[in-house]
């Protein structure tokens, strides 16, 4: 092992505070500024910095939990999930999974974290030009059944079982926050329109149809999915109006027939 690698491993072990190390013997002593105090500056700064990073990635979770609880959540996460990314933007990517696992009796905490993370993914998802609604008129009646759609990279569907989105909304708008609660299974949509992340709930028919086309299904298979909820004669109109809504919301980037 190179002496530099060895030194850096000792320093890092002290900063992470995980195991005792002999790093202090590598640091010059000074009567007024002892080595232990010098090292502690780095250790404390590390914790503060990563707490801040997590707070900036999860501002509403922090508001919900309060400073003290949030710091406890953050510390537990920091101790078990050191960062491996160049940017603190990605620190906390597994927080929702960790919280769902560690706080099963309060599932809204894990779901609030999941929600906030997905909103942040929509915020800086890849830029793509979206399809002008008028362009669909260019396809012939024969082409329509085989049409496939490419959605904007920010589009994401998810299922939640708590009122986490309502908590998120109230927290981010500074309104009174309702009590957290279980709900029946709800389908949600997150995407970005212009530069702003947006979200709304989906009724089961829209969620079913959207999942089909998100999964590269054709317009025809989307219609088949809608038959589960609508009489056959209403399906084409329902399908067309959903497409129109998604286009207007800038969710679709392209359409193509084979």
């Amino acid at each position: 092992m190179s002496p530099l690698l060895e030194l850096q491993r000792m320093f890092q072990a002290d900063v992470l505070g995980a195991q005792p190390s002999s790093f202090a013997t590598e640091v010059v002593e000074h009567p007024a500024k002892p080595a232990a105090v010098r090292i502690a500056i780095y250790r404390d700064a590390y914790r503060i910095r990563l707490r801040e990073a997590l707070a900036s990635n999860y501002p509403q979770l922090k508001r919900w939990a309060g400073d003290e609880t949030f710091d406890a959540i953050a510390d537990a996460y920091i101790d078990t999930h050191p960062s491996h990314q160049p940017s603190v933007r990605w620190f906390g990517d597994t927080l929702a999974a960790v919280l769902s696992h560690s706080l099963p009796a309060q599932p809204w905490i894990g779901e609030l974290a999941q929600w906030e993370w997905l909103m942040s993914l929509a915020f800086d998802a890849v830029d793509r030009a979206t399809l002008h609604p008028g362009r669909l008129a260019e396809f012939s009646a024969e082409q329509w059944p085989e049409l496939q759609f490419e959605f904007h990279p920010s589009v994401h569907c998810l299922i939640l079982r708590t009122n986490a989105p309502a908590l998120y909304k109230a927290l981010s708008e500074g309104h009174t926050v309702a009590a957290p609660s279980h709900t029946h299974e709800m389908q949600w949509l997150i995407w970005r329109q212009d530069l702003t992340p947006r979200y709304r709930s989906l009724d089961p028919s829209e969620a079913g149809a959207l999942r089909v086309v998100l999964d590269n299904g054709t317009f025809e298979s989307m219609c088949t999915a809608l038959c589960e909820w609508y009489p056959e004669e209403d399906v084409p109109m329902q399908a067309a109006s959903l497409l129109r809504e998604w286009l207007d919301a800038q969710m679709i980037c392209s359409a193509a027939s084979p």
Partner: protein
């Protein structure tokens, strides 16, 4: 051999995007953008960077290169920086003379290196590779530090100079960091500056710190202090006009507050030039 002189700038923060593009358009000569904040797939950060660069020269300032680290250079990161640079055409790219973690961990801190010949050689060879991969010379910043390694056998300024000369890279002198370290390690900040080769200095940083009694901590959440202004004036006397900007990362005030601080930097330069 230096990149073009840009004058007086600011570290751009999202809080100031709208002001810099709106009522304060053109208020500074250039902007320094934090590289990592723009290594994202898309959305608002890259949108604003694109708009800002239409009005201001941009400099990229990174924190995760870990030029003094022991892990292999992160080539994926370097590729992303290069792609970002192709997109925003920075006047130059800077990072810090430090290491940030080992064994794949990023501590997100700018950690000091032991000042030894072996470290100089290690860092110089890594700078060579980075300069090759980025296709340009690198600008490296001195960091604030809170400890000295027993194995160090040269001063920080000798270390910095040795690396800059041998790797043929440029320096970003953070005047506040020189001052902070001078108090933490009991050296004379002016003699530090006197040892740095004039023709290597591309940029100055000014920032605030926190006084914690026996130590000063580099926090970037306060205005520039009097002692740092005085050291800045000394630095201008030695290095001549150098592109200067103010860094503020915490307690971020309205842009007008930072512009007032920058105005003071301009006035100091004017005085030095007149003298």
């Amino acid at each position: 051999m230096l990149f073009p002189h840009l004058g007086f700038g600011l570290g751009v923060r999202p809080e100031h995007y709208e002001a810099l593009l709106g009522e304060r358009l053109g208020c500074v000569s250039w902007l320094e953008a934090l590289t990592e904040n723009y290594l994202v797939p898309g959305g608002r950060p890259l949108h604003y960077l694109e708009r800002l660069r239409a009005h201001y020269p941009i400099v990229l300032h990174g924190v995760s290169l870990s030029i003094g680290g022991s892990d292999p250079l992160n080539l994926e990161y370097l590729k992303q920086v290069r792609t970002l640079a192709e997109r925003c055409k920075p006047a130059w790219i800077s990072d810090h003379l430090c290491w940030t973690g080992v064994d794949g961990v990023n501590l997100h801190d700018l950690l000091p290196l032991p000042y030894t010949e072996a470290t100089v050689r290690h860092v110089v060879s890594r700078i060579d590779e980075v300069q090759h991969r980025l296709g340009r010379r690198l600008v490296l910043e001195n960091v604030s530090s809170y400890l000295t390694y027993a194995q160090s056998d040269m001063s920080e300024w000798e270390f910095l100079t040795e690396i800059a000369e041998r790797a043929d890279c440029l320096l970003l002198l953070d005047i506040n960091n020189v001052y902070v370290s001078s108090i933490n390690h009991d050296f004379d900040p002016k003699s530090y500056l006197r040892h740095i080769p004039v023709q290597r200095v591309q940029q100055f940083h000014l920032a605030g710190h926190r006084d914690c009694g026996t130590f000063l901590i580099d926090t970037h959440d306060e205005p520039v202090c009097e002692a740092v202004w005085e050291l800045y004036s000394f630095a201008l006397g030695r290095f001549g006009p150098v592109s200067t900007m103010i860094e503020r990362d915490g307690n971020i005030p309205g842009v007008e507050v930072l512009l007032e601080e920058l105005q003071r930097a301009r006035e100091i330069e004017r005085e030095i030039r007149a003298a």
